[in-house]
Symmetry: C2
Subunit: 317 residues, 2 copies
């Protein structure tokens, strides 16, 4: 059986796992990233984590086909370089070269949203479908596009930036420089922003009560839980959130017509309350009703998606 190592490199933690060629995690572990340190130290810790896993599982390095890494930011896949990743403070970091000083086997690297798409396609709700899109609703909005069973990364390696699809001409200023980007309306950050603003104006709202007036404690879960509980203020925010999210999903359907759309990331933990609302809203806006359209599911891989998708990078190559 072929084995792979998948690494989920985040701004806070580095997760790694030994994964079989079906996408099953056999063993996994985690260390802190310590993102403010020199990259050599971070990558040495990454290598240490992988060596520990091999030791724990009784594997030799020669049992592993390749290491795949999912990283935030933009990636030069050919050279194995993270071109720019703001939350790691990285610019032109030769991750592959540095990791191979510690572990001399093939190393693949890919953007983390694309990795999530690969994970869903290999072992998640998009498994077995030729065309799928995984939408990650987190601090920002990312996406991974699978076409003909393979990750689609475009002609310059920067496709699938769904978070920066403009859905509101002249809308909210985005940090990408444009206005009205999807992630300004559909990310967890958007829920938090709107939750804070509404709680401030409505101290009788459940959102306000849940954090005892400490607005900085408001997160996406608190806003959605308040909506679930029937709080009117929170329901207004949630309905508006679903409205914008629907527009982004409809645009994906009208442009790419995938078989499946997977919703992942922190917001997806809201479960069926979220999924039912999305499905109901999207179904009202389908253009070609007779032709059929994408099934929408919540990701079931959770935090493992990063490790699984990264491990499958070598397989997808």
């Amino acid at each position: 059986m072929k084995l792979y190592v998948g690494v989920d490199l985040g701004g806070t933690n580095i997760g790694a796992g030994i994964v079989d060629d079906k996408g099953n995690i056999l063993l996994k572990g985690e260390v802190s990233t310590g993102a403010s340190r020199p990259f050599q130290e971070i990558i040495a810790d990454m290598a240490g984590l992988i060596k520990d896993l091999l030791k724990k599982g009784g594997y030799a390095l020669s049992d592993i086909e390749a290491i795949g890494i999912g990283s935030p930011g933009s990636i030069d896949r050919e050279r194995g370089v993270v071109v720019k990743a703001n939350n790691l403070y990285w610019k032109d970091i030769p991750v592959k070269e540095e990791l191979q000083k510690h572990l001399n086997i093939p190393v693949y690297i890919e953007n983390d949203a694309n990795v999530a798409g690969i994970a869903e396609s290999v072992a998640g709700v998009c498994k077995g479908f030729e065309n799928s899109v995984t939408i990650t609703l987190g601090t920002g909005v990312g996406s991974g596009i699978i076409i003909d069973g393979k990750p689609y990364t475009g002609s310059h390696g920067v496709a699938a930036e769904l978070g920066h699809m403009i859905i509101v001409v002249d809308g909210i200023q985005c940090n990408c420089g444009n206005r009205g980007c999807f992630e300004e309306y559909a990310s967890a950050s958007a829920l938090i922003r709107d939750g804070k603003s509404a709680a401030k104006e409505n101290p009788d709202s459940l959102i306000y009560k849940e954090v005892d007036g400490d607005l900085d404690k408001i997160d996406a879960r608190i806003v959605i839980d308040a909506a679930k509980a029937g709080d009117e203020i929170a329901l207004n925010i949630f309905d508006s959130y679903i409205h914008y999210l629907t527009v982004g999903i409809i645009n994906i359907i009208n442009l790419l017509d995938p078989s499946v759309i997977a919703i992942s990331g922190g917001v997806s933990r809201a479960g069926d309350f979220l999924l039912d609302a999305i499905r109901e809203s999207v179904s009202k806006h389908i253009f070609y009703k007779d032709a059929g359209s994408a099934n929408i599911y919540l990701s079931e891989l959770g935090n493992d998606a990063g490790i699984i998708g990264a491990a499958m990078l070598a397989r997808a190559d």
Copy 2:
């Protein structure tokens, strides 16, 4: 040398041509569609046009590999059926079966916007590039997406509906049922709508003068020509048009990151005045400036695109 017949089926005319496997038209002709007639008569005339061309060129039917048809509306490619085409008044019309009663060789059928994308990819400005998008700016807005050198039509055959990508949440009502669709802002019809409205309010504008106050004579060319001539009212409309068009193009770039974007359709006849404005505006809104982004060109195939792309359907299959 392999030869194909390409048919460009429109609401007003049917064009057809004999095309070689490089996408060169050897011979072409045209008849009126007479769209209000029974489909059997329309397709009999289509067959007659093809037979005339064969006779003129001294070809036998056995010299032709296949017939490709580009049709408006939604298509069932497997069965060779036009599922729905409003401007032909067609619903579930068995075009392939009917045409093969007259000409018994393989028949392929595809949506006309996809056909335009194939034409650009085989013989136009997208030739030689793996990933390209052709945007047709006409009465509506259509698009043809080429991925890995092949037309991308999605999992239910209805991908590439760029005209119905929502760019203005809760914007102008579109006939698809949604609001704020790209084609409500970037089609020739949008230019005409805004030109009429501005001319009505500004009888001193060049647009008004060009049509002697007969607002129904306003077309996209008149609005753009007035802008070219420096008329302030027309320039405002044109600038706004470019603003919305830029948003759609930026969305294509951020989602699909193609090598080339081709602009075709009636509006593209505005030439460099349009192209320069698009390029300048788009360049200001690119996210990954370092990575490189799609080159934008005007289609040079003009009306021949429909015939060429249709003829290449069999080749692309």
